[in-house]
Symmetry: C3
Subunit: 250 residues, 3 copies
Amino acid sequence: MQARPLVTLLTDFGTADGYVGELKGVLLSAAPGTDLVDVSHEVPPQDIESGRLALARYWRRYPEGTVHLVVVDPGVGTERAAVAVASADRFLVGPDNGVLSPALLVPSARTVRLTVPPGASPTFHGRDVFAPAAAALARGVALAELGPAHAHPVVRRTPEPERWADGTVAGEVVAVDRFGNAITNCMGLHGGTVEVAGTTVPIVRAYGDAPPGALVALTGSTGLLEIAQRDGSAARRLGLSRGSKVLVRR
Amino acid sequence: MQARPLVTLLTDFGTADGYVGELKGVLLSAAPGTDLVDVSHEVPPQDIESGRLALARYWRRYPEGTVHLVVVDPGVGTERAAVAVASADRFLVGPDNGVLSPALLVPSARTVRLTVPPGASPTFHGRDVFAPAAAALARGVALAELGPAHAHPVVRRTPEPERWADGTVAGEVVAVDRFGNAITNCMGLHGGTVEVAGTTVPIVRAYGDAPPGALVALTGSTGLLEIAQRDGSAARRLGLSRGSKVLVRR
Amino acid sequence: MQARPLVTLLTDFGTADGYVGELKGVLLSAAPGTDLVDVSHEVPPQDIESGRLALARYWRRYPEGTVHLVVVDPGVGTERAAVAVASADRFLVGPDNGVLSPALLVPSARTVRLTVPPGASPTFHGRDVFAPAAAALARGVALAELGPAHAHPVVRRTPEPERWADGTVAGEVVAVDRFGNAITNCMGLHGGTVEVAGTTVPIVRAYGDAPPGALVALTGSTGLLEIAQRDGSAARRLGLSRGSKVLVRR
């Protein structure tokens, strides 16, 4: 069956206040017949880092031509730019604060600076700047028509772990998910152990390699090492949060 | 591309219990090929006022012909009427408890009373009364075919602020959003100050006019004055909630 | 209007981490032009029982041909099977841990065991096993092409209440919903009383039969008796949770 234009949405708005409702109405009025896909509206308020890590997971999983709208925007109403990006045959629209970094790191990515219309609310660019731009891209408008080239968009990167002379990798927790899995910045390995929060945890291949309730480390679905508890929350048990240190030993 | 019928959903059901899943199944069975748009299922339980304010934000943003299903219904199983409304070329379906007021305030709005079928669950009109009516409207059934005219639907209004002889506007907080912004019932103004919770806050045009962490008042995206903290939660910092008093001085 | 393939989603992922975003991207890439319907991503983490009860509510409400994707999967990466089911002209995809029981209890249900591709992440079968299978079914691939017949899928049942010689029905709370209604395993009746948490509550037909604030028991929307408080939370007031005992007397 013929696919329609796809626009995904990632925001920190929550849904109950009706802001997401407004934004979707603007999108569907400006680009009728578009398929909207909710990724999340539950990014912690103004948490650019969480938005960036979520986007990294999903943006390339969608068909070519998909428009990813990302509004985690603590700088709305300041001098931060509003941008649209073309990268790997997908489009992204959002604030220039690093949240779009996963797509900007592709060498061929192109970025334009969106014009803020005179009547735009200084508190809600999601509705008045980003949604109209996403709708235009969904309708097939070319990126270059949305604004002038934007030379140096803000790029954030996950911190690199240290590699010590004895082979130890010294990394940290970059995210804790809903299950209490603590995702680190260390590439997953099979074999060895992880020291975390004063405990030594074995690296296993799958949950099935450990008894129920056991703490393990294993390679997660993006290839990074995770600290997890089978049938429980490792983050709660070990008191882990973003920035907690880990030492990976072969 | 040809647009399909649009039905938006606003409820206080949460999603985990499967009630929303049932309601959507009824809609898609009765009106195949309809685009469902989730506005929110996270309205605080039985909080008509929150539902009303959310609906006010979004209902006119959608294309003509859109059907807005709104189920915040503490009176299910009592004598309150179930209604459908045609207003400004959109349709609304929900309980007659004031939650639909934003559309009812349009002078040309027409309201009909829905018939409750004999087998309808007395605890779930969302599934058995409202969803079938919304599906009928999505399929193009005329409003008048859904029931007899309903003469005096319940209308709720945001309280008006007082205007004092010295020019002071005495208003109140009507909602607090996920970011901790306290939205008042006072139309936004540029210049002047707001007294709130024992503090005097400057009225600015945009967040960029204040340093990070500062308390400000500014015109929000519906034109109402909001008390906000740049990069933080004004409601938490000042202890604001619905009904908190504000004095706006030029 | 011609309906497109329908895939519903029920998970315990939450949305903020981007896992649901990934899963939807895989679905829409493998089955372009599919309508995705979010049922919930807020099932309590790893709570198979909540997922099972939610699914029971909605799965037969959808049009024939609908694919229900259900991922509440504490056993990912263990020996539990991944399955697809055809039942009552709908399809279901998920782990073989009992969460699919409502569809498996239909006598004509057929189940196949999905093949786990060699590169699948051992922590995210939702993305790498279940979503591709759901997409295949949405595209019209026959169930039998997805894997070999799976003889004895795991079936969970709601516990049956006891029926005493004096006519009393001794049951229990099986779920508490967002409104604080405590849903029991006793079929609803009109007339009589319920003893629960040291209190005797009348069985009424509808909320309108009781004054605001009153505790009542009534037949809920699936036919089971619920303990509820008009305009309040019975579960909070009485301290009810899954497993709380109830005695129903005519």
